[in-house]
Subunit: 669 residues, 2 copies
Amino acid sequence: MSDNISVVFTPSGKRGTFPKGENILKIARELGVDLDSVCGGRGICGRCQIIPSFGQFAKFNIECTEESFTAFNDVEARYKRIKGLKDDRRLGCNCQIMADAVVDVPEESQIHKQVIRKAISDKPLVVNPTTKLYLIDVEEPDMHHPSGDLERVKVALQNQWGITIHHYNIHILTQLQKKLRDGKWQVTAVVRQQEQFFELVDIFAGFCENIYGLAFDVGSTTISCNLVNLRDGVVINSVGAMNPQIRFGEDLMSRVSYSMMNADGAGEMTKAVRETLNNLMEKAREGHDIEADLIVEMVLVGNPVMHHLLLGLSPVELGWAPFALATNGAVNIPATELGFAVNKGCLAYILPCIAGHVGADCAGVVLSESPYNADKLTLLVDVGTNAEIVFGNKDKLLACSSPTGPAFEGAQISCGQRAAPGAIERVRIDSETLEPKFKVIGCETWSNDPEFATENASVGVTGICGSGIIEVIAEMMLASILTNDGFIDGEKAAINPRIIAEGRTFAYILHDGEQQIKVTQNDIRAIQLAKAALYAGCQLLIDKIGRPPEFIGLAGAFGSHIDPKYAMILGMIPDCPLENVQSVGNAAGTGARMALINRTARTEIERVVHQIEKIETAVEPNFQDYFVGAMGIPHATADFPHLQKSITLPPKIKRDAAASGGGERRRRR
Amino acid sequence: MSDNISVVFTPSGKRGTFPKGENILKIARELGVDLDSVCGGRGICGRCQIIPSFGQFAKFNIECTEESFTAFNDVEARYKRIKGLKDDRRLGCNCQIMADAVVDVPEESQIHKQVIRKAISDKPLVVNPTTKLYLIDVEEPDMHHPSGDLERVKVALQNQWGITIHHYNIHILTQLQKKLRDGKWQVTAVVRQQEQFFELVDIFAGFCENIYGLAFDVGSTTISCNLVNLRDGVVINSVGAMNPQIRFGEDLMSRVSYSMMNADGAGEMTKAVRETLNNLMEKAREGHDIEADLIVEMVLVGNPVMHHLLLGLSPVELGWAPFALATNGAVNIPATELGFAVNKGCLAYILPCIAGHVGADCAGVVLSESPYNADKLTLLVDVGTNAEIVFGNKDKLLACSSPTGPAFEGAQISCGQRAAPGAIERVRIDSETLEPKFKVIGCETWSNDPEFATENASVGVTGICGSGIIEVIAEMMLASILTNDGFIDGEKAAINPRIIAEGRTFAYILHDGEQQIKVTQNDIRAIQLAKAALYAGCQLLIDKIGRPPEFIGLAGAFGSHIDPKYAMILGMIPDCPLENVQSVGNAAGTGARMALINRTARTEIERVVHQIEKIETAVEPNFQDYFVGAMGIPHATADFPHLQKSITLPPKIKRDAAASGGGERRRRR
């Protein structure tokens, strides 16, 4: 038969000529068209759906009609009846070309399909998971040619999918005999690909349609978990929990101390976090009818201390110079070793750490925001107990961490609390009357609204969270309640009795209900120290590049809640056009999800992390100066022309912040 | 400096010219001379010992004198003081050449050293283990160039030994930080090489001299364990135990039945054998001051049922056609997965199985005897509940198993017992008087010796073991106590009252002490069935090759104890010059030991097993005929000219063995 029929695939535009009667799935494979299939052409999986495009296609010089294809057949009819199939669709594996044809491959039939992220700013993620499914028919044993069940599975994968298995999970063996016979020698193989290395992870009897993965962001305070369908990258469920290690220490350093002071301190914390992770896995599955055995992939991110405790490693070395990591490479570890009751072939992938204080969570942020592909100089800030800072673009990328301490998380603040219902998160102060209004998490109305008392009744006003403390201090500055050097001005008590004396200093009462919520001079000092550390870290990286950022991304829970304007008023972050400062959401978690659904993301972040230039703030001579200079509000050493364009700031005054004790704090690490 | 000094190494004869002052270890490496080193030239390990050869060497055109080498230095003196060093020896790493020199590398300094096997017939084994030690100095962490401890270990192995680590055992991480610091950044890396793939198995703080491996032969009845030093292949300790699965069934088929009849029958047997294996590991270490953590390699062999139960696999499929193995490939499994409390990086290697009834034990026999390298047609017979038979030479190798049943192991024999103290193992019958004499295991004197009663007192006479039953029946034939068709001749009672009537048949009383030990007609039938099966299996393979064996090796405990002459008189094995029939000892265990100490042995046996042609006796049409024909003693279908040359046989008579029921037995499997 001569190859005289032209076939064009859209949207790829790939084309070729083929003999009449050739199968569309086969043609697609020959041309390298991105057309999915799990069942290998048996009409079972429905992944190879295509849309015949009828009409005159001048640019291809093709007229495509009903006659271009074989008629809808029984296999397709059965699939449509059982699983459903849109009217314009065909199964590529059961449809042959009979004349010149144009064939469209819809998004969901593509192997490298994309999944849309929820937030508007988010780029879509490409789906190309490490682990995929392959339906195979395995030869039955034959005593004339004795060979093992496993070996015949390997032969089937080789012959039917061209996959050479280099390694198999040893736990497969125990169920192999039963599964092959239960499936009547038809099984779905779960195959993991790492570079050009193929591992047989498991097999399921008969046809298995979906496998799943988990992406964990292990924060010091909260842990989030996404259950993801590896077929299409869609998040099935998102759940979260408090990090149970909090009972051993609120911030990272106290957990490191706990493991120094207690013989098996690290072990206890490891056990605690692993239990919570496994519980989250169970919680994520609830109501979704997904067997734990179907969970075959897992990705985790966390800062270096979380990373070490998760892996059962002592974090003690991270507590002092030279802040040595046990490993900075990406870690592949069987999920069962981390205590997960999932598929025994499930591999947990933990992103690489960048440095002793810049962890796998920061690598997740970098992967998510990919500044290494950007032209624009991008500053990424992930604020936790340590701020992890990345700056640069495709030419060069720098990273450091800065010891902000837990003030931004509401710790070390007299009325501080974690971001939870009842916490004040938004504040405005009238610059005439010095009267505040605020909003609390869990209640949509402002506190000066007549409805507030009613609507707030169920949550109350319990404290100030990180973003609230930023706003109230910035507003106190804008209303001149703060003096130039960051002191609460006692003379302002004459205007509003909310300014009260507390010993030799003053405080500002934000709310006087069941609980009195106030801002003390110590609170302001704590925030000054934290924001100075953050700013100094950013400035250090800006110095190394020699140019200011063109985009600032604020990552993490704190970064999501903070109003960029107030961050800038306070002098937390360097000056930048306000419209170019954005929250990038839980970028660490997004990075974990990317590494979960796309195997090339893993090699990408490993390569990038290796190339990042690591800056150790503790030994940078300028850090001290920047730190001291950034203590004021806003501070002495930097101009904020973009900020001043956007909002009206009180007259900027030179301040001497030398007395603020930043040097001592710096050595705290 | 010009390269003008000639250096010749013996025994390799490798030579080259080098600059004056060059280090001998370095020269050896450059020339590819087989000179060992663990410490990489630090003068710690003493593995690179060489012997300067002084004198005129006409064939090399070299005069080698004291001046050819630098003087004995402090490092060598220290090593000699602490560890001892023969007077003629130097440390290659601390000795430089100063003039033309001849350098001898003694056997123990060679990397691929040989280890002598105990038995005289045994070929020496080459030592080239999968896992070796490498002393490294690891860079200390530097916060200006942050990198993980693990990554710096990898860099050290790369820079100091040229080894690229592809994989590391995840359990290393937990102890890594401590070990590096305990060793003051000098550690010994344990590295496993499989093909060109290097795995970091563990690290030990400081210099570690020895690591160990275990070779297990998991028989249905007994389990043997060799503890081996991987440095030189020397067996440190050999221990053994009964297979605890005996309580679930004496022979293989009854264990398969047990797992069919009981929900977790296979699981119970798996647990039992794993416990015994771990106990043997402990027992082997006793008194040898070897930490379990130093055991980093393990090799196991066993028949297919033992293989499956060991791995936690159901053996049920092995109980019926088509006798499908779960896997026939070599299995690598972490030893901890088999329940061993050894180094967590210890990998257990299980030799490949040949077919559903020809197991990893037989692969061990093949590896040990290497008929695939032989010119002579070699017949290897390993007798257990199934006889595993291999026949061929370097051109072609065939294998089959034959259902001998447990009679050769003393089971199904009225007074049968396992080979243990008290069991009759040697028998002679006077052909005139029909009086027997015998020897029992555990007593050196014959039963007709006046000392026998005294010397035997402690062990007694408790039964007949496999080799004893062979001899007594063969001697009964030689003494014409047996009729031509294998019946005990009642008329012989007239000559000796040891021939007694038992119902319609007769028995022969071998011993009448505390216990009466006799041979019944049923015993003779059981042995006839077993030996006919064995003979028929051999004959089938001989047919396929078309020529008789030139060497017969009898493997296993039974093969070690049996007198080849009697095996031939009985017609168990084909005819062959008696001097070419030998016991090859526990060849399966030797094969395990070879795979333990030499990694190329593993690839070799995997290749060979793949090439062996598997014959399934159950479906071979000639098997039935051979079986029936081989029922007589000696039997009807074969001549034994070699045997007849060696001993005087009674007149050979055609017998009709057709009524013997062999067909029924054949289908027993």
